[in-house]
Symmetry: C2
Amino acid sequence: MSEKLTIGKLAGATGTKVETIRYYEQIGLLPAPARSASNYRTYEGTHLRRLSFIRRARDLGFSIDQVRELMGLADRRDQSCIAVDVIANQHRDAITRKIADLTALAGELDALIDSCSRNTVADCRIIEALGPAASA
Amino acid sequence: MSEKLTIGKLAGATGTKVETIRYYEQIGLLPAPARSASNYRTYEGTHLRRLSFIRRARDLGFSIDQVRELMGLADRRDQSCIAVDVIANQHRDAITRKIADLTALAGELDALIDSCSRNTVADCRIIEALGPAASA
DNA sequence: TATGCACCCTCTAGTCGCTAGAGGGTCAAG
DNA sequence: CTTGACCCTCTAGCGACTAGAGGGTGCATA
């Protein structure tokens, strides 16, 4: 049961693109792995777990900086959970705001779409609604 | 009375930053205006109307390319409104998907936050939940 | 053994939609 | 005549990747 992975295998196992993994290494998010004799990156289980963590947090919409923060906390397991809770809650609030914004926007768009007369653009109320008083 | 505007006035009138207006000119979204003797941009009413259109569409979340498309359609006033309707609906669909994604995400985060035992990180299920998909 | 192809490497530059700064020129009020 | 707000161009930066050039490596198959 060899835990050695090429970058391609790691990518496949985590649903990440190869280039993204190299990028994460470059910005110091994922530690640089050992290299094979032919200079190939050789990843271990620790990398798989860490990258899974990163991907999951990214999928949940945490920024790279927030992920860094979360990982820092996760690595200090004696610390209080409250710091982690705070980050998650901040993020939850941001999502609440985003949903509200998008919902309002969807309403506006719906009004626009409903107003489409389906005649010529000259009569198109979407175009009309997007412009100011009169078009030039 | 053709009202001439400096870039600053145009920015003020449309709620756009000066740099953004120059950027729109650079990418060909807003036509380059005439220049004064001292090389200042001098905008006309047409620019004001076109920029208002752009800003409104951008505020509604249309991409620059979509705005370009919409403006191209608006300029051909004999054409059918349906093409405009299609673009608006595509955008509406994208927003619907985004809202659904964010809602699902909010639910996941809520579960994560609720599960936080508020003890040490060792017990913190937020960190746990962010770990590898299959428990390792 | 040769060959073909998928994979790996580094490095650079591009994406989107701006935003910020350097380093200068112009204009109008006091 | 000076001050300070405005204007100009050019370049680089943001976040989070993504794409491509130009090359090396590993393994299966003919």
